[in-house]
Symmetry: C2
Subunit: 339 residues, 2 copies
């Protein structure tokens, strides 16, 4: 961190005046430096052409630092992944902070460094930003908004209306790690080894899959808040088809599964930040899962179910011992401020 | 407002599960309906080409409803105006809420209606969004982020490096109305008639000026937080030239001036939300001010000063009685959470 003559964020840093300029001049933001980012202009000028994906997310996760990541990394990966789910190559991000008065500068710095590293890993740049400060007790350390633009992959035809009965559902990784990482910190649980969030950028894997499997990929969705169970219910409802799910096929780390059992949580409803669901034509699904399993990001990928014209709008799961049950949407709030 | 079976926002509305869907299904968001907005997708797909301006702002103004506007209108106009200051035609907005548990749905509805109306007035659409909920006491009713994209006007050549000594500085309207409107509510001041915020979209006027005066316009800047005084100081510093300001030329409503005097505030540092500064070649300045004065938005426009190679990086003001003083940047926080 650059040497500063202030230790914490104060209200004046949000004034737009001398203290805002002190914060901008302090060098902390220069960690994000790139050709397009001009801290003092009202916006960035980008060269874009063709179909452009545009998505926004605010992040209010508590705690701000958690096993496997922090709010900065999450804010980059979350928006990068939403762009990837649109079939796009993420390119540029905006970054807006709402800081609580009294935030230690060391924490703010750690978040900025984390944002820089996550941008580098995903191949995106922060090109414009904003910082507001609220009084102590009117916020909670730091809230982050990232909004992203990306160029839609030329082979992408992501459209829920293209899903047909027989299309397979692939999950790219193990369920429930992010939510259980947050939960175990909040509940003070200790396990043999720490459960860490799965937060990671998915765009590189998605790009490779679109290169190879093109329009065999009909839908991409990252099951964050609400988990895999809610995401599948939304797909079934919106496409007016049923989803059949195989419980045995669901990839889940044994320790995460144990933590879920201990806390009485269903991993189908626990949030994820580093995996996606892909709905793929039956013909391509096997090859695509194979391709995914040969990558680090997709090494736990599995086909977990398929669309069916039976039981439209319903998700039905066959359990390990052969019984069937309906999987509903998450009701209420399993875990507030998970992202 | 649609008939709802809940009166306030609760934590479950941010879960991503059934209550989030209840909120989405409730019809409140359909007030923003347009062809591109799909509440349930991860992002919107836009057709863009050429130079695109991209800008973000979070809004934390308190109170949320104030004389002359509310946080929703401000959030639309703020980002629309930042795009206009880039010389762009604003087109699409993202909209992200951080709601405090317990927010009355009637207030949320009023904000959404206000957003819809402001979008219609500015000619932009909300195409993607996000809603998070934080516990009571961890936020303050509602924070809004808007991020916008717009197409740069073909005649725009907004570039601070093009400013030369002799270029004139035009202000498009009367100073300090927004900040004094907020201040008078907070301080419980009563005047003969209420001071109202100047929040308004500036993009239509800016487009007309770019059509007519093209690259005679060298810089556009909306002096929000920090006011006109800070904005001019930043320009002088960044261009390494001096600014000469004529106090007598500053347009200010007498009632606003009186309120400033009463509270010991300098209108040069009070926030504005509906005016801009334009730096224009000396040859075009007179015609441009004339054109502005014939519009409703620009009816109070005035030439207030010029750039000079004297006193580089300094703003010097000639007072009504002929004395000169240096105008510095705003120090500290004159008024927290003004936008």
């Amino acid at each position: 961190m650059p040497k500063l003559d202030f230790d914490t964020i104060n209200l004046g840093h949000g004034s737009g005046g001398k203290l805002t300029n002190q914060l901008l001049d302090s060098g902390v933001f220069s960690v994000l430096k790139n050709d397009l980012l001009d801290q003092r202009h009202d916006g960035a000028i980008l060269e874009l052409s063709g179909k452009t994906a545009f998505t926004t997310d605010s992040f209010v996760i508590s705690p701000v630092f958690f096993p496997g990541g922090d709010i900065g990394e999450l804010a980059v990966n979350g928006t990068v992944n939403d762009l990837a789910m649109c079939g796009a190559i993420p390119r540029y991000l905006s970054l807006a902070f709402i800081l609580e008065e009294g935030l230690p500068m060391t924490e703010f710095w750690d978040i900025l460094v984390s944002i820089r590293n996550a941008c580098a890993a995903a191949g995106v740049s922060v090109v414009t930003g904003d910082t507001k400060v609220v009084e102590r007790g009117k916020g909670d350390k730091v809230f982050v908004n990232t909004t992203g633009v990306g160029t839609v992959h030329p082979k992408a035809e992501i459209d829920i209306r293209r899903i047909m009965p027989g299309d397979k559902i692939i999950v790219s990784g193990q369920l429930a790690a992010h939510g259980m990482a947050i939960m175990s910190v909040r509940e003070g649980l200790e396990f043999e080894s720490q459960i860490v969030s799965d937060t990671q950028p998915l765009n590189h894997l998605v790009k490779d899959l679109l290169d190879e499997f093109g329009n065999n990929i009909k839908l991409l969705r990252d099951p964050t808040r609400g988990g895999v169970g809610t995401a599948l219910n939304e797909m079934a409802r919106d496409r007016d088809l049923g989803v059949h799910l195989e419980q045995r096929a669901l990839p889940i780390d044994p320790q995460v599964a144990g933590a879920c059992e201990l806390l009485g949580l269903d991993p189908l409803y626990v949030a994820n930040e580093g995996l996606f669901l892909a709905v793929v034509s039956g013909a391509a699904a096997g090859a695509m899962v194979g391709a995914m399993q040969r990558t680090d990001t997709g090494r736990h990928a599995r086909i977990i179910g398929e669309f069916t014209d039976q039981h439209p709008k319903k998700v039905v799961m066959t359990s390990g011992i052969g019984g069937q049950r309906i999987v509903n949407m998450l009701i209420g709030e399993q875990l507030p401020r998970i992202c």
